[in-house]
Amino acid sequence: MKIHNTTGGRVFDAANYVFLSLVGIVTLLPFVYVFAGSFATEAEITRRAFFVWPEQFSLGSYEYIFSTPAFTRALITTILVTAVGTVVQLAFTVTMAYPLAKKTLRGRKLILSLVVFAMVFSGGMIPTFLLVKDLGLLNSYWALILPAAINPFSLIIIKNFFQELPAELEESAKMDGATEIGILWRILLPLSKPVLATFALFYAVGIWNDFMSPLLYLSDNSKWTLQMYLRQVTAASDLLGTGNVDPNYIPPEQGIKFAVIVVATLPILIFYPFLQKHFAKGMLIGSVKG
């Protein structure tokens, strides 16, 4: 598609590009600082308030965190749980969203109201823990996936999206004798790639960043995910000065903190660009019409 550009349009484009580049830099810089800090010595981090390149390059922080197999193991665990969990959670959500998108389905309103109710109210940490325990899921990776299998918010958005898909598509498939499951699988899902990519990302990030579930449900340290370590180094210093800290405690060095942040954040950051191609503009409607 070719869009003719006016002078005003060009000025806008230029201003927009400059502005967005600035936004990009402002959001990137702090992470660069964390990244650079993870390769710096403690003395340098203490001396220089902000930097993007360490003067004295040091691998000490990484040597420390990789001195035991714990981190590598947690990294692999987190990636696997995130991958499996995302697929499972997305499958649960999509299968529930599709029938709810049918306005003629009886019981639909009741179910949706209960979903919204559950979005706002929750039973709390301890009853959920007891449930997971009674289901025999303690110390199992399923405890990180199943209790959060459907996010009501995602369910509603995906349902709304299905609702807006052109009805003719389904009707013609129906004529050809396809069942609803076949329609969902062969027609709707391929059309919904941008939305599925979006919610795959949301679910993946949700599992990746989840800290409470591994804390509560996994008591075996060898099963821990990265967030347990990340939270430990970043949250411990919050407690300083509250009077509830072991006086023998010396908080982890800044460099180690930064290195843990890098290891726990970089893999999920890299994930996004891979999904990005599914956000391509006009894909959905183009394929519908074509």
């Binding site: 010595t41 403690e42 003395a43 203490t46 001396r47 420390y64 965190i65 001195s67 035991t68 197999p69 714990a70 981190f71 009741l110 109201s113 209960l114 109710f117 940490m125 301890i126 009853p127 823990f129 007891l130 449930l131 325990k133 009674d134 303690l138 800290f211 804390l215 509560l216 008591s219 340290n221 060898s222 347990m228 370590y229 939270r231 430990q232 180094v233 949250a235 411990a236 210093s237 919050d238 407690l239 300083l240 000065g241 509250t242 009077g243 509830n244 072991d246 006086p247 023998n248 405690y249 010396i250 908080p251 982890p252 800044q254 180690i256 903190k257 843990v260």
Partner: protein
């Protein structure tokens, strides 16, 4: 419409609740014969020790039991404690980090064994510091074996090179502290010709009773340690005249810009920065920070770091006396839950395990590591083996967590650590010496063992009233009358009740 849905929701809730109660009953295992012991403990490092590490193996060998330690991140320990107590899979020993309101409630509901009359039977659990055991109790009831910590740790550290350059002596009194701070601010101690330094750096730690610089200076002025006895009654230290005097003193320093201007907001994790970077020359904190600071200078310049950090202990107040500030001397305790250890006979076995943990052999393992692997003994000190083997390194990293299991109720039952260089050893020895000397003048918190019901319910909120007013007064937002009003507000919002309860407990236990 909505109401109908809610009714239905409620019905679903009730049904599932019933089914849940049905299945969460039962599950009482028969008494274990103690071939294994489970322990829940916090870890404070970046990562917990591995379950198949050398320290773990040695620990099991020395105790003759399977020791299952459930390491839990320190940052969410309280959450995990409550979850654990709500479930049925409860460890036999739980490290409890302090007398938090949550712990007090659980203990008073009967969650833990009362060990008051039991510990003396076990040679390594019988404390040589009964006062500290009393501090760690709830109104005299001992619910766990306390984890001993050096009670004296308050120190004033300063840039030694600045002091030398200005030809000053280390401070001995609070008045000296003022003089040094003033000189550090006004006499260009770094010699760069600019007026860009200040005296004391204070972070935003403003809560009461956190051993903050404010708490320390107040105690040095004679205000007491949280509570103080006056006319035969206990009163909170902020209701003394000395408290106001001490804060007038700090305010004078704030007004004369001898303290960092952002003391109300300064990030405590960056406390070392102004000191290291030559901005603020004095820190009032625990003495272990001295070694952290020395280490920073060493890292920056391994050849010239010996003359940067000087320190003294507690300072004499204006009355010419030394009121040294100790902590309560413990950091939480190891408690035994009743739901996992059901009989006295079982309790006895668990306490025997704790007794073994406190013996010389195991205490050395938990605190020093494994002799010949990561340390050797030189002149009665544990010296790290250099160069470190990967095995030695793993042991050294692990024991930072295992030390959390140490109780040391009869003093430290292990070797002191030999410092990396002679200079650092001198600093360490001087720290030990200064703190031992100050301990003789320690003024303890007379109310430490007492837990008032009102304080459990709303103490944190109450204390905030005074803590915030203190900072506002120092920042010039309210005057002294405003500070006094806040203290009155503490009284009328529930403080009077707290005083009443504490005094009653104090009288009863005298």
């Amino acid at each position: 419409m909505i109401r109908r849905k809610l009714t239905l929701a409620a019905a679903v809730v009730t049904v599932s609740a019933l089914s849940l109660t049905a299945c969460s009953g039962g599950g009482n295992e028969p008494a274990a014969d103690l071939t294994s012991v489970s322990i829940m403990a916090p870890f404070l490092e970046a990562q917990p020790p591995s379950a198949d590490g050398a320290v773990q193996k040695k620990l099991e060998e020395l105790t003759g039991k399977d020791i299952n330690i459930n390491w839990t991140p320190n940052s969410s320990y309280e959450d995990k404690t409550n979850i654990t107590l709500a479930g049925s899979d409860i460890p036999q020993i739980m490290v409890i980090q302090g007398k938090t309101p949550g712990f007090v409630k659980n203990a008073e509901a009967g969650a833990f064994w009362d060990l008051t009359d039991k510990l003396d039977k076990y040679p390594n659990l019988k404390t040589t510091f009964p006062d500290i055991q009393e501090n760690a109790s709830i109104n005299g009831k001992v619910y766990g074996v306390y984890r001993g910590r050096a009670p004296m740790r308050a120190a004033v550290m300063f840039r030694q090179d600045w002091l030398d350059k200005l030809g000053l002596q280390p401070p001995k009194t609070t008045e000296d502290l003022y003089k040094v701070a003033k000189a550090f601010t006004e006499q260009d101690p770094d010699g760069n010709g600019q007026n860009d330094t200040w005296g004391i750096t204070i972070p935003k730690w403003g809560a009461l009773g956190t051993n903050s610089p404010y708490d320390l200076i107040e105690e040095w002025y004679g205000a007491g340690n949280r509570w103080t006895e006056k006319d035969g009654k206990l009163i909170p230290s902020f209701e003394t005249d000395e408290f106001l005097e001490a804060n007038r003193f700090v305010k004078k320093m704030v007004d004369e810009k001898l303290i960092n201007p952002d003391f109300a907001t300064f990030d405590g994790t960056k406390w070392n920065e102004p000191f290291f970077n030559g901005k603020g020359g004095i820190i009032v904190d625990v003495d272990s920070r001295v070694s952290v600071l020395v280490n920073l200078f060493k890292q920056a310049d391994p050849n010239n770091f010996q003359n940067k950090v000087g320190f003294v202990g507690n300072l004499e107040g204006p009355d010419g006396e030394l009121h040294a500030h100790p902590t309560d001397g413990y950091s939480g305790f190891l408690a035994v839950p009743k739901s996992s250890v059901r009989t006295e006979a079982e309790l006895d076995k668990v306490l025997e395990v704790l007794n073994t943990l406190n013996g010389k052999e195991v205490a050395t393992l938990l605190n020093n590591g494994i002799e010949g692997v990561n340390f050797t003994v030189e002149d009665g000190k544990a010296a790290t083996i250099k160069p470190e083997t990967s095995e030695g390194k793993a042991v050294s990293t692990d024991i930072k967590s295992y030390a959390q299991l140490g109780m040391n109720v009869a003093g430290n039952n292990f070797y002191p650590v030999k410092q990396a260089s002679d200079y650092e050893q001198q600093v360490f020895d001087k720290r030990t010496e200064v703190m031992a000397e100050d301990l003789k003048s320690a003024v303890y918190n007379p109310a430490a063992p007492y837990v008032s019901a009102t304080y459990v319910a709303k103490g944190a909120q109450l204390d905030n009233i005074v803590a915030d007013a203190r900072i506002k007064y120092l920042a010039g937002q309210i005057d002294e009358q405003g500070l006094k009003d806040a203290i009155k507000l503490w009284d009328t919002s529930g403080g009077n009740k707290v005083k009443e309860e504490i005094n009653k407990l104090w009288q009863d236990n005298k």
